[in-house]
C-alpha cells in the first residue's frame, strides 16, 4: 500500500484543489443559512463513481482539517466495502486520523444511517445523497420542483402520502421519508430508514448533505426543527423492531436481518456495528451472542 500512498503525493490535501474547496465551502455556508434548501454546486468528477458517495466525499474534503478524526460508515457499519474504500481515500489523500468510535469522531461521513449514539455539538455528520430532491418521485422536472420549493407549494407531496394511506393503510415510504426543515423547506433525508428521522430533529451536530451527481449541497444546522411529514389521523411512526439484537440484546437500535439458512432461519443484529460492539464490550449479551473476549478472532 505504500506505493499507492506515494502516488498520491501529487494531489492536494484531501484530493480537491483549493479553488474547488472554496466553491464547495461557499455552497456549504449558503446551505447552513437556508436550512433544507438545495444549493447547486459545481460538483467535480471524483476518482470514484457518481452514486457512490462523491457528494459526501466532496463535502468532507472541503471541511476536513489535519486535526479532524474521521469515521466513515455505510449501512451503519464501518467495515462495509464502500465505507472502507472512502476511509482509505481520506487516509491516503489527507493523512487524517480515522476511527470507528462514534464519540471520538469529529466528522462522520455516512450512507443510509445515522449512528445510534446521540451526536454532540462538536461533530459534523456528512450524508451521501443519491437523489436530493424530495419531490423528484412526484415530478421529474427540476424546473417544476424548483418552483414548488420557491412557493413552498407542497400540496402534491401531501396528496401522494395520503393516497398511500388510502391504498395501503400506511404511508408507503419507509426510507428517504420527507421532512420539513425549520418550517420552510421539505427535504429528502437521503435514504436513511425512517427509524432514523427523529435523530435529525434538534441534533447537536451540524448535518451536511452532499449529492455529487445531482450537484446539490444542503444542510440542517444544529438544534433545528426537523419534522417528518404526517397527518393528524396518521401520525409519523418510526419503524419498530419486535425483537432485540441477537448479539448485544439492544432493544432500541436499528437491526439488519441476517439469513442464516434456507429454511426460514434468520437473526436480527444491530446495523450500527460500533454501537453493537461497545454494548458487548460493556457486557451486554444477546440471545445468540457470546461475551466479548479480548481476542475477538476466537469468536468462531
Amino acid at each position: 500500500m505504500s506505493a499507492t500512498a506515494e502516488n498520491y503525493r501529487g494531489y492536494n490535501f484531501a484530493y480537491l484543489d483549493e479553488q474547488t474547496k472554496r466553491m464547495i465551502r461557499r455552497a456549504i455556508l449558503k446551505a447552513i443559512a437556508i436550512p433544507g434548501y438545495q444549493v447547486p454546486f459545481a460538483s467535480r468528477e471524483m476518482p470514484m463513481p457518481y452514486g457512490w458517495g462523491t457528494g459526501g466525499v466532496q463535502v468532507t474534503a472541503a471541511i476536513l482539517g489535519p486535526d479532524d478524526i474521521l469515521k466513515v460508515i455505510d449501512q451503519g457499519a464501518d467495515d462495509t466495502t464502500n465505507a472502507v474504500s472512502i476511509r482509505q481515500f481520506f487516509e491516503k489523500t489527507a493523512g487524517v486520523q480515522t476511527t470507528t468510535e462514534t464519540g471520538k469522531a469529529t466528522i462522520i461521513q455516512t450512507r443510509h444511517r445515522i449512528p445510534e449514539a446521540t451526536l454532540q455539538d462538536h461533530q459534523v455528520l456528512v450524508y451521501q445523497v443519491p437523489i436530493p430532491e424530495p419531490l423528484r418521485f412526484l415530478e421529474p422536472r427540476e424546473t417544476e420542483t424548483r418552483t414548488m420549493h420557491a412557493l413552498a407549494e407542497y400540496g402534491l407531496m401531501h396528496v401522494k402520502l395520503y393516497e398511500d394511506i388510502a391504498q395501503h393503510g400506511h404511508i408507503a415510504k419507509t426510507y428517504d421519508y420527507p421532512v420539513l426543515v425549520a418550517e420552510r423547506y421539505v427535504m429528502a433525508p437521503s435514504p436513511i430508514p425512517k427509524f432514523d428521522n427523529p435523530k435529525m430533529h434538534q441534533s447537536g451536530a451540524l448535518q451536511l448533505f452532499g449529492a455529487g451527481r445531482e450537484k446539490r449541497i444542503y444542510a440542517i444546522p444544529p438544534h433545528t426543527e426537523v419534522v417528518s411529514l404526517d397527518f393528524e389521523d396518521h401520525p409519523f411512526e418510526p419503524t419498530k423492531f419486535t425483537e432485540p439484537c441477537a448479539l448485544c440484546g439492544a432493544l432500541d437500535s436499528y437491526l439488519d436481518e441476517v439469513i442464516t439458512d434456507d429454511k426460514g432461519g434468520r437473526m436480527f443484529v444491530c446495523s450500527d456495528t460500533h454501537h453493537c460492539e461497545s454494548r458487548r464490550a460493556e457486557g451486554h449479551v444477546g440471545a445468540l451472542g457470546t461475551p466479548i473476549t479480548p481476542v475477538t478472532e476466537a469468536a468462531e
Binding site: D17, D74, A77, V84, F241
Partner: protein, 367 residues
C-alpha cells in the same frame, strides 16, 4: 455461530490484485502497449477523448488499457484525471474553415469547391470479416495526391449563407462568458452553448438513439448533411501580456453541419436552420447524432411543438452523461440492506394486518 462480516479492507486489496491479473491475461501473450492502442484502436481512443473531454491520445490509450477495453470505464478515468488539471487559459475559438482536411463530404451538393474527399471511411467497405487480418500482413501505403497551396475548402453552410438561405449564426454576445458546465452547475433552461458542451461529452449510444428517434418522427427536423469534415485544426492561445498569439499544436476534429427544415415568418424570409455537431478525433457517428439532437433541442427557439424526447432539454441534458449514468445505475449493487429492511418491516406489518382482517371476516377459516 454468526460473526459479523469483517475484512472489507483485505477483500478490496485482493480484488484489485485479481483485477490486475485478469487485465494482463495470459502472460505468454505479449502485453499490449498504449502506443499500439493509440495506433491500431485509434477510434476507441477518439471516443474516449471526446467523452472524457480531454485531448490526450496517450492518456486515453492508457486508460483503455487500464479499463480492459471498457470504454465507459476509460472515459471515467480520463474525466477524473481531467478534473485535477489546472487551467492556464482559454484558447481562441478553433476555425474549422481552416482545417487541414482528410475527409470531407457533402450530401447536399454533387460537387463543390474543395471537392468530395472520402478519406479513411468504413462507408463503402463490405462488412465481411477479413480473415487475413487474423495474422500479420503487409499493408499497402496509401496513395497521395498533390495538394495545391491554394486549395480552399469553404464550409458548405458558409456557401449557403452567402445566398442568405440559411439562418445566420447567432451573434455572440462578447460580454457574456461562454458557459461551462464543469464550472457551474447546469440550470434550466440552458442556452445553446451549454447544450452543445453537454452533447459534445454525451454518451455516443444515447446521442445516436435520440438522433435516430428524431428521424422516426419523435421530433422530426428534416436533416440534410450539409457537410461532414474531418482533419487537423490549429489551437491558438492569445497571450496579451506578450501581445502575441501562440500555436499550441493541432487537434483532429470531426465537424458535422446539418441543414434542416426551413423557417420563416411574416417579417423574416424563409431560411434553412442549423444543427451542429463537433467531436474530437474521427467520430462521425457522434458528430452527426449530436447535430440532430442539437437541432431538436432548438425546438422552442423556432416555436415548434415539443413532442419527442430529443426535444426535451431537461430530459436530454440530464441523462446524456455516461459517467453519471453508469455510476448511478451501478450504485444499485452497493449494499441497500438498511432500506430494504425498512421495506420488509412495513410489508410484514401490512401482511399481518391483512391476515388479521381476513381472519376476522371469515372466523371459521382461521380454525
Amino acid at each position: 455461530m454468526y460473526v459479523a462480516v469483517k475484512g472489507g479492507e483485505r477483500a478490496i486489496a485482493n480484488a484489485h490484485r485479481l483485477l490486475d491479473h485478469e487485465r494482463r491475461g495470459d502472460r505468454a501473450v505479449p502485453e499490449l502497449s498504449p502506443t499500439q492502442i493509440d495506433e491500431q484502436l485509434a477510434l476507441a481512443v477518439d471516443r474516449v477523448m471526446s467523452e472524457g473531454s480531454l485531448y490526450d491520445r496517450g492518456l486515453a490509450a492508457l486508460a483503455i488499457k487500464q479499463a480492459r477495453g471498457d470504454l465507459i470505464e476509460a472515459i471515467f478515468l480520463v474525466r477524473a484525471y481531467r478534473t485535477t488539471l489546472p487551467r492556464f487559459g482559454y484558447s481562441n475559438p478553433v476555425d474549422t474553415g481552416r482545417m487541414a482536411i482528410r475527409r470531407r463530404i457533402s450530401a447536399t451538393y454533387k460537387d463543390l469547391p474543395g471537392g468530395q474527399v472520402l478519406g479513411p471511411t468504413f462507408d463503402y467497405t463490405h462488412r465481411l470479416i477479413d480473415f487475413a487480418l487474423a495474422a500479420e500482413r503487409e499493408v499497402a501505403e496509401p496513395l497521395t495526391a498533390p495538394v495545391g497551396p491554394d486549395t480552399e475548402t469553404p464550409r458548405v453552410t458558409d456557401m449557403i449563407a452567402n445566398d442568405d438561405l440559411i439562418e445566420r449564426n447567432l451573434k455572440t454576445d462578447e460580454t457574456k462568458p461562454v458557459g461551462d458546465l464543469t464550472r457551474d452547475p447546469l440550470a434550466f433552461p440552458a442556452d445553446r452553448d451549454l447544450r452543445l458542451q453537454n452533447l459534445a461529452r454525451g454518451d455516443e449510444g444515447f446521442l445516436l438513439a435520440l438522433g435516430y428517434s428524431t428521424q422516426r418522427g419523435y421530433g422530426r427536423n428534416h436533416p440534410f448533411v450539409g457537410e461532414i469534415r474531418m482533419g487537423e485544426v490549429e489551437i491558438e492561445l492569445e497571450i496579451p501580456e506578450l501581445g502575441l498569439t501562440a500555436s499550441l499544436g493541432a487537434v483532429t476534429l470531426t465537424e458535422c453541419q446539418m441543414v434542416n427544415q426551413f423557417k420563416g415568418s411574416l417579417t423574416e424570409p424563409a431560411r434553412f436552420t442549423r444543427g451542429y455537431g463537433l467531436s474530437f478525433g474521427h467520430c462521425e457517428r457522434r458528430a452527426m447524432s449530436m447535430a440532430l439532437v442539437d437541432r431538436a433541442l432548438r425546438a422552442k427557439e423556432f416555436g415548434e411543438e415539443r413532442k419527442g424526447p430529443a426535444q426535451d432539454e431537461e430530459f436530454v441534458l440530464s441523462h446524456s452523461d455516461n459517467v453519471q449514468s453508469t455510476g448511478f445505475v451501478e450504485h444499485l449493487k452497493l449494499p441497500h440492506y438498511v432500506d430494504f429492511q425498512a421495506e420488509l418491516a412495513l410489508l410484514r406489518q401490512m401482511r399481518s394486518e391483512f391476515e388479521a382482517r381476513q381472519a376476522s371476516s371469515h372466523p371459521e377459516a382461521a380454525e
